[in-house]
Structure formats: C-alpha cells, structure tokens
Amino acid sequence: MVQATASAARGIAKRSRSFGLSRKIGRYALNGVAGLAMAYILTPLFFVTWLAFFAQEIPSFPPEGYSLKWFAAIPGNDRFISGFILSLEVGVSATLIGLAVGVPAALCLTRMKFTGREWLNSLLLLPLVVPGVVLGIAIYVFHVETEIRTGIPVLGSLGGLVAGHVLVVIPWCVRLVTASLAGFDRTIEEAAQSLGADRWTTFRRVTLPSILPGIVAASLFGFVSSFGNLEMSLFLVGPGRTTLPIAILQYLEWKIDPTIAAVSVLQILLIAAAMLVTDRFVRISRVV
C-alpha cells in the first residue's frame, strides 16, 4: 500500500517534470523561431550598413579597408540631392492628402451603416495588394488618355506623381485609423456635447486626440511607403524629375560602388529616427 502510494507519487513527479520540460522546449522553440525571423529581416540591413564603409569601389569580401568617402560623396551628387528633395516633397504632400481622404473615410466606415460599406473598405485597401508595376502602368495609361482627351498636361507632372502616391498612402490611413477608432468609446463624444461642444469642437477636442496615435502611425507608414516607392514612380516621373529610389536605380546601372549603400544607410537612419521620435509622443505599438 505504502509502496503503491510512493510509486504513484513518483509517477506524478515524473509527469510534472516532463510537463515542465515540454514547456521549456516550447519556449526555446518559440524564441528560436523569433530569432530566425529577426535575423532574416536584419541581415540585409546589416550587410548594407557594413558595405557602406568599405574602402574599395567593387564590393568584395573581405574588405580591403574602411572609409567614409562614400558618405562624403553624397552631397556632391546632384541627382541624389534633388531626388531626395523630390521624394520628400511627394511623400509629405501625398501623406497630407491621404490623411485628408483616409481619416474621414475611416470615420465613415466605422460609424455609418450603408450598403456597399464592405465593398468600399476593400476598394480603399486595394492599392496595398495590387503590384506597384500594375498600378504604375494603369495610372500611366490613364494619364496618357486624360492628356489626349482634355489637353491637360498631367503626364509626367508633379501633380500626377503625387496623385499616384496618394493611392499608396490611403490604405495605410484607412487601415490604421479604422483600427484606432474600433476601440473608441463614443459616449465620450456625447459627454463633450452635453458639456457644450458642438460637433466640430467635439471632433477636434475629443475624437482627434483619441485617434492621434493611429493618425501618426498612418502618416509614418504612408510616408515611408511613398518615400521608398520605385515601381509606380518609374511610370509617373517626367523628364528631369527623379525621386530618390529612381536616382539610386539609375546610378546602379553604371556603377555598383558603395555610394548606394551609404545612401541607403542614411535613408534607414532617417526612417528609424522618425519612428523613434514619433514613438516618444504616441505609442505606435498600440495601433500597429
């Protein structure tokens, strides 16, 4: 009897030990997979950054030495500078227009019930799934036709380029602002109105601050996807007008020296800085 109890106790101890072990294995496996995914994402960034400091012109391993000359060369390259400025201009304008369209659209999608709501939601998210090249060609053909029919010079114009980029920004705005509106308690809007705030004041003082993290995240992601867009821009830029990604591509056709890597490193730093700064004001992790 005593023996039986003892062996049963041993059995329980063994089982709980093996249970603990399998939990441990599970945790290691999870961390391992997460680590692999991180490595997969970070490896190219790591090599690009490393490459930017190589001394030799043709990248090869091991490096023959290290230098900052490729960074020093950037300011002297007009194409990169003007490309950077154009990308910045287009990115900022497209983001602002995208917000002006996306925020009201998100409000409408989350708060109003109407037929075709799902359909409209999908339509607004569509540019995310349509390949950039397809989007570029479609808009290009549209611009050509528009110019032929109306005589308005849209083809290759700055306006045409921005309009294309707005399309890329809108899905981010709609998606992220919708997400931040989903958890929004509308009784606080009623509270504001009962306290004397009209509809616009209520939006400005209560709704907007509550969905601000979503809006900031939307601007950031929208801007980044516009800033880095190459495929669509290729079809929409006019003569003498190049965005930074196009400038990089054109440079690559003739040279493969680490200047490109240096430019990329600056771009990575810029975007990382933007994310960090924004995250200090609004927790992006809350909405994304």
Binding site: T187, E190, A191, Q193, S194, L195, G196, A197, R205
Partner: protein, 360 residues
C-alpha cells in the same frame, strides 16, 4: 437649476414605440427617478431630455424654454454616464474645466471653479491625475463634478451607479443625494435598481413598454400601486387570481373566499398581497379578517428577515416575510401554519391577468 417639463413626448422607431406619450412636470430642485425594467423607455426618455434623441412628437421645456429641437450642446444639461465617459487624454482638472471652456468662461475664473467642484466631490487633491489612474468610484465623482461645475439647468444621471461594487454604490448614492440637495439641483436619474430608486428619489416614475405606469412618491407607489405591473415591480407582491363575487368578497380560482376592500364591481380580478403584511403563526391567529391554514413549502433565510412560501389548501401559494426574532418559530418544509391578513391589506386589480407575467 430649473423646472423641467415634458409634454406628450413620443419616440417611434418605425412601428416600435420606444417612448409613448410621456408627460412629466418636474419642479425646480426635485430629484426624480425613472424606474423600470430594461427596454421600458426610461433611457430613451433621458436621451430625449439631453438632446441625443429627437422626439417624434411632443415638447421638452427646460426652465420654461422650449428646447425640443435644440442640439445637446445648447441645452445646458449636465449628464453623467454609466461608464463615466471621462476624456482619457485630459487630466481630472481639465475634464472638469471642459464645460467652462465651452461656455467661454475666463481663464482666471476656471481655476477656482474647477477647484470648488472637485472639493465638492472630495477629490480636490487629484486634479492633476489622469482618469485611468483613479478608481471607479473616484472616476464617477469626477464625472459628477464635470456635470455640475457649469451650473446646469438640470442634472441627468444615466444608471450612474451600476458599474460600481455594492459598497461603493451606497457611498456614491449618498454623495449624489447630498450634492443635489446642497445645490438645489433639478435631477433626473434613470435606474433599474429599485432600492437605489427608493432611497434617492423625491418622486418616482415607473415606466414599462414606453409608457408611464405611475408617478408618485415611494409611499404612493408602494401603498397604492396604480396597476398590477407597479405592484409587481415596486416591492414584492403575491398575486392571487380570481374574481370579485360580491362587494368585499373575492374568490380565488382555487376556491378560497377572501374578504377585501374596494371590490365594488364584480368580475375577474387579481388580488395583490405584500409579503410583510401577512401574519404567520403556528397557532391559529386571532382578530384577522382572513385566516387560512397552510403548509410550509419553502423557507429562505435572509438574515434580518425570513421568507416563507406557504401552500394554501387551494394549492395556491402565498409568500410571507417574517422578521427574524429570537423567539420566532423555527420553520421547516412541511410544517402546518396559519396565515392571516386584514381586509385592507390586499389590493385589487380588475381584469383577467391569468396567463400574463407574475411577480417573484
């Protein structure tokens, strides 16, 4: 602070009447409670007063001014919500200041008035906190301060206590009543909690299916319920179904003959009996207009009181509530007892109610 009047207010959604011809006159400084089960139209009525729901017909007057078509922000009504609805991104003091800012009160005046309002709800020291750093009870008091600070014409409370735990509910209940009395505020509160309604109200409105069933003081509703619904909803009642045979005599469906008052017109009726007005004894009772023997069916021990369900010979049952006395009988299922009550105890409601809901 002002008088609030509703004239024949109706709200229809398609064929559904959410509020049916409600007329109320609430004098300046009165605490009126709208009481009823969920879906009875009490919240819709409150939202019509606040301006969030537009009445299909009828008028709302606040301080003699017709506000029926005014938007909420022009009504000067202080509103407290069930879920507090504080602005999460503003501090407690900023929350309270909101109504004053909207009214373009000068910056120099806002500070002292906010401090005063927070002092009233005894949260003067928490002005710089964010709402999420406060407990539920504190948040509700901030909501109250926010609704009071701009001196509203009427204070509207939408189930203000239902998110609080039982003990806190008692405290905030007293707090709200103390404040409204101190400030002489006209107040409308919506609740489904009978006890809350009875302890706080000057007068109560019992609503059901969008209509006002009865308006009166606690005593009016309890002693003279206007209809069967009120008798069942306010306090507890046992309903015996049957018919008035001759004036003063009621015969139950089971065949019991009961002496009662007001049985002027013969015909089908229900007799409502309050559990605490029925006497119960192991020995035959004396001096009762009605005396029936029965058998204990079920006993609920509630502490201060004991509920005894008694089966009558007619197989009808009555609920008797007896005070828990040291020398009281220790009753158990199957015990033979005598129940009795005066003719004036029962309330008769004419009409056939068989097959409709009965009270607990």
């Amino acid at each position: 602070m002002a008088r609030l009047q509703l004239h024949h207010v109706t709200k229809r959604y398609g064929d559904f009447h959410a509020v049916r011809d409600v007329t109320l006159d609430v004098p300046d400084g009165e605490f009126l409670v709208l009481l009823g089960p969920s879906g009875c139209g009490k919240t819709t009525t409150l939202r019509i007063i606040a301006g969030f729901v537009e009445a299909t017909s009828g008028n709302v007057l606040l301080g003699g001014r017709d506000v029926t078509t005014l938007p909420p922000w022009k009504r000067n009504a202080g509103l407290v919500f069930q879920n507090y609805a504080l602005f999460p991104h503003l501090t407690v003091a900023e929350n309270v200041a909101f109504g004053l800012e909207m009214r373009k009160v000068g910056k120099a005046d806002i500070g002292p008035r906010v401090a005063e309002a927070l002092r009233l709800v005894r949260l003067g020291h928490l002005g710089e906190r964010l709402p999420r750093q406060l407990s539920g009870g504190q948040q509700q008091r901030v909501a109250l301060a926010r609704a009071l600070v701009f001196k509203p014409d009427v204070l509207l409370l939408d189930e203000p206590l239902s998110n609080l735990d039982a003990k806190l509910r008692q405290e905030v209940r007293i707090e709200i009543r103390r404040l409204t009395q101190q400030l002489g505020l006209t107040t409308i509160m919506v609740t489904h909690d009978q006890e809350e309604a009875l302890t706080m109200a000057d007068r109560l409105v019992v609503m059901s299916d969008g209509s006002v069933r009865q308006l009166g003081t606690q005593r009016d509703l309890y002693e003279r319920p206007a209809d069967r619904f009120v008798a069942g909803f306010v306090g507890r009642s046992t309903f015996l179904e049957g018919a008035v045979e001759t004036p003063g005599t009621f015969r139950t469906d089971g065949g019991l003959e009961i002496r009662c008052q007001d049985g002027s017109s013969a015909g089908p009726a229900s007799l409502a009996l309050r559990p605490e007005r029925i006497s119960l004894g192991v020995q035959p009772l004396s001096g009762m207009d009605n005396q029936i023997n029965g058998v204990v069916d079920f006993v609920s021990y509630l502490g201060a009181n004991i509920d005894v369900h008694v089966s009558l010979p007619s197989s009808e049952r009555v609920l008797v509530q007896i005070p828990n006395r040291e020398d009281g009988p220790a009753l158990k299922r199957g015990d033979k007892v005598h129940v009795g009550w005066a003719a004036s105890t029962g309330t008769l409601f004419a009409g056939d109610a068989r097959g409709t809901e009965s009270s607990p």
